[in-house]
Point group: C2
Chain length 215, copies 2
């Protein structure tokens, strides 16, 4: 893991916090690690043992196949916590999507964190299982709709939704190619369900319609 600098970054206000900030004890004294866009936070196979809380920016968690195919299993936005593992090894990669600030909590060996970690693990498990339904049984438009609904909810349910990640990231999260993602965005736009304010932010015009599409 390569943090590019610590503690000296101007800390943006957390006004853009999600509506369900995770309640992991902040220990606000932890220094802030800064990762520029694309920087690796940890790698599969690396020794685990820390928790990471996103302060600002966004993180992708993913796995690779031997031939380079990638599956992003989760995105983490401001306020969310990640990095806990079933054993002492990381089973996934974690990368900053954009310039991202992360508080790193090293878990002292011998300290039992299960009481704090269990709710996070269970929530993550439910989310992963729900995403299985999306990948296993939903078509392209349903997948994108489900993704947009989820992003909207995590950003407080506002009409305008920021997508900090590229089309490639979205595709690798939804099990689609970038072309298919792009075409679905176009279709939703043509149907008047969403508007593209710019590449990385959309407005949900017909919230109800989008929700129905995602089932």
């Amino acid at each position: 893991m390569h943090a590019y600098s610590t503690s000296t970054i101007a800390l943006p206000s957390r006004s853009s916090q999600p509506n369900t900030p995770e309640a992991f004890e902040p220990a606000l004294l932890q220094p802030l690690s800064f990762f520029p866009a694309g920087a690796e936070i940890y790698a599969q196979g690396e020794k685990a043992g820390s928790l990471y809380q996103v302060e600002f920016g966004a993180v992708r968690i993913y796995r690779l196949l031997a031939d380079g195919r990638r599956q992003i299993s989760a995105f983490h936005l401001a306020g969310e916590t990640f990095g806990f593992e079933a054993d002492t090894t990381h089973h996934f990669f974690a990368e900053a999507i954009n310039a991202t600030g992360v508080r790193v909590f090293r878990i002292a060996s011998g300290v039992d964190m299960s009481r704090q970690l269990l709710p996070l693990a269970l929530k993550g498990l439910t989310k992963a299982q729900e995403h299985l339904l999306v990948l296993g049984r939903q078509n392209a438009i349903e997948r994108v709709a489900a993704f947009l609904v989820d992003m909207a909810e995590r950003q407080g349910g506002l009409r305008q939704v920021e997508l900090p990640m590229s089309r490639m990231d979205i595709g690798d999260y939804l099990g689609l190619t970038i072309e298919t993602v792009s075409r679905v965005f176009t279709r939703l736009k043509e149907k008047g369900v969403i508007r593209l304010l710019n590449l990385r932010s959309i407005e949900i015009v017909k919230h109800e319609a989008l929700h129905n599409m995602s089932e």
Copy 2:
């Protein structure tokens, strides 16, 4: 949840136990609940609060879309534990696949089980995330290969693998139709990778080849 009888079932030896029995404290005095094939153990939306340990048989955990599409997120075999949830409500359905014996542990309110539950939750999370890679990025033959490798490992890595579930269940786990599952089995058979001893048990002839296919 409808248990059909308790405690009076002849308990089969657990010789067919997986190679990694889960270490949830057995409290062996718990009566055994019996569920015939297809019986519901709990339903989505029901109040949660118990843990379930499979004694014999097999269980499917799944979710439904409004139009009936089903995604099985996990199978649980003898020795495995399921039923823990992020909140007080079940987010999934659990059904016995075959005649199944389950020990039910009601978690007394106020008792903190996090220390016991966290490892199970984390293991489940890792498994679910790995399955995301299969559903999101692998084709039909790779999915079936990954499934067979997983089933083989959970049954001790023997050549012969029992598949307690139907093709429909396998399809709903792998995000495929029964026809595609069947065709892939046929292809693997023709390639000499597996042999079908009968519909519900296969022999892995070329273990290496199967492992490579699953990546």
